[in-house]
Subunit: 426 residues, 2 copies
C-alpha cells in the first residue's frame, strides 16, 4: 500500500472562486511524482470551524500526511497555525530565533519599500508569524511566513503528520524541497510505493474513439487492471496518463503498443514532452515570425513563454485591422476585398508577409472569427484560417472550425497553429 | 441564517493537478451571487469510495445543497450518478425519452465527425448516460451528458439536495440557469439570505498597508463585525471583497470611506469594474497599437480578449529581436546600441513607432528582461521599461522592477502596461 495524503487549501478568495488555486494541483503533482497517493483536496475559507472540519475529515480518512496551504500571514484572517495546533491539541509557543529572523525580513522590506507602518501592529504581526505548535518544527521562510512540520501521533496517535505551507505559490514552491527533508514528513511518506507515471499526448483524437480503444485494450492487455489510466481532453489535445507500480511495466508497454497501433497518426508525444517542448525543439536553428489576427498575440505569447525563445522568435505582427494587414504585412487590399479577411489566400499572404518583413525562414499566421459577432452562414463564428510559410517551400494553408465561446476559440486556434507548425517542421 | 452549500469536483485529472479546475470556482461564485454560503469545495478522483466519503462529509456538515461536477461521460471511469444514487439509497432506472434524446445527439455527432464506433459500445454508453436515480429529475443535456437534480430528504431526511452537473465547463455553464429552476434546487436554496457583495480594487497597494488600515477600521467603523472582508493580492492588484447582509449597508459605506481616505490614490475601482472594463471604456473612440518585447504579445492578447475590441485595437508589433524594433518600429539602431534595448528611450521610440506605423492615436510599449537570463547589476531580471504614446502629447516612459520568475514578470508587466495606459487616458 502506498502512503496516502490529503491537501487542504485555505482562503476565502479561493473558495469563493475569485482566484484560481495553484497550490493544490502543484502539491498534488509533486506528491504523485514521489509515489504518494493523493486521495482528497479540500478547499475552505478563512473560518476556523470549516478548517477544523476538513482536518477532521482527512484524519478520519486515514491519510498519512495532511498538507495545508495558505493562512500564514500577519493579519487576523490568517489562522491556519492556530487552528491546526488546536485541532492537534498542541500549545503554541513563540520561537525567539524565528521571530528575530522574520523581524529582519520585515524590517528589510519596510526599508526597501519605504512603507510607514504602525510599530506595535508590525511587532504583533511578527510575533504571530513566529508561533509554533509544541514539538513541531518551523520551516525557514522564503517570504516572511515560515512553514511548520508536525509529526504524526498527536491526540493519542490519531492525528497524522501535518505539513503547513504558505499561500503564495512562489513561497510554497521555494520551501518544498526543504519541507520534504523534515523528519515529520519523511516518516509520513516512508510507506510510499515505487510508482511510475507515463503520459501519452494526442491531437485531433476524439475522446469517444479513445474510450473504444481502451475498452478493447481491457481484453487484450494482460493485467490491464494494474494500470490506473486517466484521460483528459484539454485545448483540443487528449492526455492519457497511466500510473502503475514498477512491476506492471510490461502491461504498460502493451497498452502503449495498442494505443500507437490505433491512433499513431494523432499521437504526438509518448515521453511526457509537451507541444511547447516539441515546437521549441523543431524551431532550434530556425527564425520564426508570427502574423496574427483573431488570436491577437496569443501565438507569439505562447512561443515566447519559454526561456531562451529569443534564439528563434524574431517577433510578429498582430494585424487586427485590415489596414495593418496591408500596411505591415503587404496583404493586398484587393485580396481582402475579394476573399474576405478570413480566408486561406489572406492567411497565406499574412504568413508570407511576416516571413519577408521580419526576415525569417518560418512564419505562422491566423485569421478567423473568434465571436461572438462577425459570423456568417459560410464562415460561422469559430472559423479560423492558418498559414504556414517555410522558406523554400510553397506556403501551406488550412481552415478549421472550433466550437465554444470567444476565449475557447482563441485558445483552440492558438494550439492548432502550433500543431500545424510542428507538423510542417517534422 | 443563509442557505449553505458544498461543491464536489470529481476527476483524477483535476485531483492529480494535471488540469486546473474551472468548475468549483465558477459554481462557487454563482452560488455566492445568489446569497448562498459556500462552505467547502472538495476534489476527488474517479474512485467510488473517495466520492462517497466526500458526500458523507458534506452531509455531516449540514449543507442544504451539494453540487457535483464531472463524471457523467459514457466511459467506465465516469461514475458520479451511480455513486450518488447509491449514497442516497435510490435505485437507478433508465429514462427512455432521455435515452432517445442522447442517442440522437450521439448519432448526429457520429455523422458529422465521420467517426466509426462499435455499435454495441455506443448503445451501452447512451444507456448509461440515461440512467436517473429514482425520484430525481434529469436536466436536459447541453453536450450528451444530462445533469440530475435530487431533492433533499433521501435516507430518512438525512441527505441534502444534490445537483449533479457535467465536467466540461461549457456544458456545465450552459446548464446552470435551467438547473436553478428545478424544484429540488429551488427548495434547497429557499433559506438563502439577502446578501450583497461589493468589490474595491487597488493597484500598487501593499497588503501590509491595507492590513493596517483594516485594523484601524475595526475600531472606527460601527458594527464592523457584520462585514465579511477578504483581501486578495493578484498580479500586482489588491482586491477587497466585502460580503454583508443588506442591513449592514451603512457599515460598508463607512468602511468604503475609510479605504478611500487612506488609499484613494491606489484605488482604481469601487463598483466591481475590472481593469479590462476600465481600459475598454477609456479606449472607446480611440485607436490603439501595441509594441511589445518582453511581454511577447500578452498585452495585445489582453486587449483583444474582449468582444468588440476590434473597434479600437488596430494591432501591434511583437519586436522580440532588435532588428524588428528597427525594421517595423523605426527604433534607431544607434539608440539601441547606446542605451540598450531595455531602456526608456527605446520604450518611447517603440511606442512612437507603433503609433505612426499603425496609424493610431494611442500606443503602449514594453521592453524588459523577463529572465531567467539576461540580467545585469544595473538592469536585473524583472526590469521592464514602458512607453505610452498619446497623439498630441509628449510620450511618457516608466521603469518598473518586478519580482518572480519569467511567467510572473511577464504577467505583472502586462498588468502594469494596462494600468499605465489607463492612468494616461483618465
Amino acid at each position: 500500500m502506498s502512503a496516502r495524503a490529503g491537501i487542504i487549501v485555505t482562503g476565502t478568495e479561493v473558495l469563493s472562486g475569485r482566484i484560481t488555486d495553484k497550490n493544490g494541483p502543484w502539491v498534488s503533482a509533486r506528491l504523485l511524482e514521489l509515489g504518494v497517493d493523493v486521495a482528497h483536496i479540500t478547499i475552505c475559507g478563512d473560518r476556523p470551524d470549516d478548517l477544523t472540519a476538513q482536518l477532521d475529515f482527512l484524519t478520519a480518512q486515514g491519510v498519512d500526511l495532511i498538507v495545508t496551504t495558505g493562512g500564514l500571514g500577519p493579519t487576523a484572517d490568517d489562522l491556519t497555525v492556530a487552528v491546526v495546533a488546536d485541532f492537534a491539541g498542541l500549545a503554541l509557543h513563540a520561537d525567539p530565533a524565528l521571530e528575530a529572523r522574520i523581524g529582519e525580513r520585515v524590517r528589510d522590506w519596510q526599508k526597501r519599500s519605504g512603507a510607514v507602518s504602525d510599530e506595535a501592529a508590525t511587532r504583533a504581526g511578527i510575533h504571530k508569524q513566529a508561533l509554533v505548535p509544541e514539538g513541531a518544527q518551523p520551516i525557514p521562510p522564503v517570504g516572511t511566513a515560515p512553514g511548520v512540520a508536525i509529526g504524526a501521533g498527536a491526540r493519542d496517535g490519531r492525528v497524522p503528520a501535518i505539513l503547513i505551507l504558505p499561500g503564495p505559490p512562489r513561497e510554497l514552491q521555494g520551501m518544498w524541497r526543504d519541507a520534504l527533508a523534515f523528519p515529520a514528513v519523511v516518516d509520513a511518506l516512508s510507506g510510499r510505493g515505487d510508482y511510475r507515471q507515463e503520459t501519452i499526448r494526442a491531437y485531433g483524437l476524439r475522446e469517444a474513439e479513445l474510450a473504444a480503444t481502451l475498452r478493447d485494450a481491457q481484453n487484450s492487455v494482460d493485467v490491464f487492471d494494474d494500470l490506473e489510466i486517466t484521460t483528459c481532453m484539454r485545448g483540443g489535445e487528449v492526455e492519457i496518463v497511466t500510473r502503475f507500480e514498477t512491476a506492471a511495466q510490461p502491461a504498460y508497454s502493451e497498452l502503449s503498443d495498442v494505443l500507437r497501433a490505433a491512433h499513431g497518426r494523432q499521437i504526438f508525444s509518448t515521453d511526457g514532452s509537451t507541444l511547447g517542448d516539441l515546437v521549441a525543439g523543431a524551431l532550434t536553428g530556425r527564425r520564426i515570425a508570427t502574423a496574427e489576427s483573431c488570436t491577437g498575440g496569443l501565438v507569439a505569447a505562447r512561443l515566447t513563454d519559454r526561456a531562451g525563445s529569443s534564439a528563434y522568435v524574431m517577433g510578429g505582427v498582430v494585424s487586427y485591422a485590415n489596414d495593418v494587414k496591408t500596411g505591415l504585412l503587404d496583404v493586398p487590399a484587393e485580396m481582402i476585398a475579394e476573399h474576405g479577411a478570413v480566408s486561406e489566400p489572406v492567411a497565406a499572404a499574412m504568413a508570407d508577409g511576416a516571413l519577408r518583413r521580419l526576415d525569417t525562414d518560418t512564419a505562422v499566421s491566423t485569421t478567423g472569427i473568434a465571436g461572438p459577432d462577425g459570423g456568417s452562414p459560410e464562415k460561422p463564428v469559430g472559423t479560423v484560417c492558418f498559414g504556414i510559410a517555410v522558406a523554400g517551400r510553397p506556403t501551406a494553408t488550412f481552415t478549421r472550425r472550433f466550437p465554444g465561446d470567444r476565449t475557447t476559440v482563441r485558445a483552440l486556434a492558438t494550439t492548432a497553429a502550433l500543431h500545424l507548425l510542428l507538423d510542417a517542421l517534422s
